[in-house]
């Protein structure tokens, strides 16, 4: 009886602790969302109020500033293009590493990992000089190129794992029936790893969408992405917290929604497949 009670108390304590942590995780986000709907007086009330009449002025102000909308468009163009390009180059690379006898596979995987691990500032400094010389400064293509460096390696690591998880016998069976290996990939293996490919693409999208430093130094006013644009709200507008919060909601929403959608793969992705 003592043991049972002890177990019950442990479970209760764990629940309290976990829900406490969940509250701490959620509170800043909850606070940002409510601030986005407050007018200026409510936003600056001390102590913070939780009862107020919500209104959409902040969102209207953010959306009507053409600057922010064009940044949103830039972010979309750059993120989606990087994803597609990374998949286009990454799927064949991953397939080669997963299914063929490739010499020094370990060395190749480590090399890929090291490109992913390099601090962004290492990329920013030389690329800043190179782009000014060859005229890629402030262009979409320039941004897609630098983001490809980080995401191609990630894509290959992720997809290699997914391809290996499809039993090789399935494609061999199709080949016995006369299909070429290429056909077998599209007919048998690709459909089975659709989920994995989608998750990889989404994680790639989130990485690019959230990136700040490279966007800060390599984009121009016309091609700046949302993380850069939102930071301009501070300097240009003083401290209009309501508007910053509204912009924050709009910037974070796609990343958060997509992240929740692929939550099963999130940890696998963030550890390059080291944790399944």
């Amino acid at each position: 009886m003592g043991l049972k009670n002890k177990n019950r108390i442990t479970t209760l304590l764990c629940n309290v602790f976990i829900w406490g942590c969940a509250f701490l995780c959620a509170y800043p986000i909850f606070w940002m969302i409510t601030t986005a709907f407050k007018d200026r007086i409510d936003a600056f009330t001390v102590p913070p109020t939780y009862i107020f009449s919500p209104h959409l002025d902040n969102f209207r102000a953010v959306l009507s500033s053409g600057n922010f909308m064009s940044a949103y468009k830039n972010s979309l163009i750059i993120s989606v293009s990087t994803c597609l390009l990374a998949l286009l180059l990454g799927i064949p690379m991953a397939y080669a590493l997963a299914r063929y006898k490739v010499r020094n596979k370990q060395g190749i995987m480590m090399w890929l990992l090291s490109t992913k691990m390099a601090p962004a500032i290492l990329i920013a400094v030389p690329y800043y000089m190179i782009y000014q010389k060859i005229g890629l400064m402030g262009t979409y293509i320039g941004m897609i190129i630098v983001y490809l460096i980080f995401n191609l390696a990630f894509t290959v690591w992720m997809l290699k794992g997914f391809i290996e998880s499809v039993p090789v016998e399935l494609s061999e069976a199709a080949r016995v029936d006369g299909a070429a290996r290429l056909t077998a990939f599209f007919r048998v293996e690709a459909p089975l790893m659709k989920g994995g490919i989608a998750a990889t693409a989404i994680l790639c999208f989130i990485t690019v969408w959230n990136e700040f430093l490279l966007a800060l130094v390599l984009t121009s006013f016309r091609t700046q992405t949302t993380p850069v644009a939102i930071q301009n709200f501070i300097s240009f507008e003083g401290i209009r917290w309501g508007e910053i919060a509204a912009a924050g909601v709009l910037v974070a929403a796609p990343a958060v929604i997509l992240g929740i959608a692929v939550r099963k793969y999130l940890i696998t992705g963030l550890t390059m497949g080291a944790v399944k």
Partner: protein, 299 residues
């Protein structure tokens, strides 16, 4: 015959088809990483300030010597080390606690897991902005609650004594869930048998954790440490948004100091030398720890 060979190659039937699949991506990635690295090295052996282009000259390894004797660089190294060790330690302890609790019966587990995931998928710049508002000395929520207790509103990011602590709190908030979820995945795949055996032997909970769980979780802990270390080492988004390295240089990390040299002081050659030094550190860590951890199954 030749046509047949090409057909086999293109339909991926040939032994050497992998080259066709692998080489385009490899060459592109090699080009995109090697060219800037070589170029950075080329810059790093020059005395080159963008504001004084006429005084450009070759100085060989002088920049490197200056880097390792630059007190501001060493200060930044110290800040990076302090920040990395403190954040990592807190994230590991809290993450371990959360992971163990999450492995138990939790009401609304699915929802809790989604909520706990939110900080790490949020855009880091937005995270920085939220906390900047929280810490604001006049209107910030945190300053308000602290002043309610102590009677004095602190200026957390404005004092060099507390600014780094303020940033550590933000990092712990943002990344503890990540560590917790890595450890949770490992806990859920722990084998049952040793625990039953230990129970029969009458080991206490602390003993079980110390001598059984901890060794079994060691690979997962190592993965978490390495990936967090890599991120903490290059960390600068939040600093840029929240403190700008200040007050003074109290929150200036290596990445941020290199950024300042290149984009504010325009000392391109010096910044490049600093980048090469950082690259060597990363490569060293990758090759020693990373190889052991991530490629176990391959060998």
């Amino acid at each position: 015959m030749n046509k047949e060979k090409i057909k086999r190659l293109v339909t991926l039937e040939s032994e050497s088809s992998w080259k066709l699949l692998f080489y385009p991506g490899r060459w592109i990635l090699l080009l995109l990483t090697m060219v800037p690295t070589i170029y950075a090295f080329w810059l790093s052996i020059q005395n080159y300030n963008l504001a004084k282009p006429t005084q450009r000259s070759f100085v060989l390894l002088r920049n490197y010597l200056n880097v390792v004797t630059d007190s501001r660089f060493l200060g930044a190294l110290g800040t990076t080390a302090k920040f990395t060790v403190c954040s990592l330690a807190l994230e590991l302890v809290l993450g371990m606690l959360i992971a163990h609790c999450l492995a138990k019966r939790i009401y609304g587990k699915e929802i809790v897991q989604i909520i706990i995931m939110l900080p790490m998928i949020m855009t880091p710049v937005v995270v920085g902005l939220i906390w900047k508002m929280f810490y604001d000395a006049e209107f910030g929520v945190i300053s308000y609650y602290i002043s309610a207790v102590t009677g004095k509103a602190p200026n957390i990011l404005g004092e060099s004594a507390s600014s780094l602590l303020g940033l550590i709190v933000v990092d712990v908030w943002e990344w503890t869930p990540y560590v917790a979820l890595i450890l949770l995945a490992a806990i859920q795949s722990l084998p049952m048998e040793p625990y039953e055996a230990v129970k029969v032997d009458g080991a206490s909970a602390v003993q079980t954790f110390r001598y059984l769980t901890l060794p079994l979780l060691q690979p997962a802990i190592a993965v978490a440490v390495m990936f967090r270390f890599m991120d903490l080492f290059k960390w600068m988004d939040t600093i840029y948004i929240m403190t700008g390295g200040g007050p003074g240089t109290s929150t200036e990390t290596l990445s941020y100091y290199a950024y300042m040299n290149n984009f504010k002081f325009l000392e391109v050659g010096y910044a490049a030398a600093m980048c090469i030094v950082m690259l060597l550190i990363v490569l060293f860590i990758c090759n020693t720890i990373g190889k052991k951890l991530l490629l176990k199954e391959e060998s």
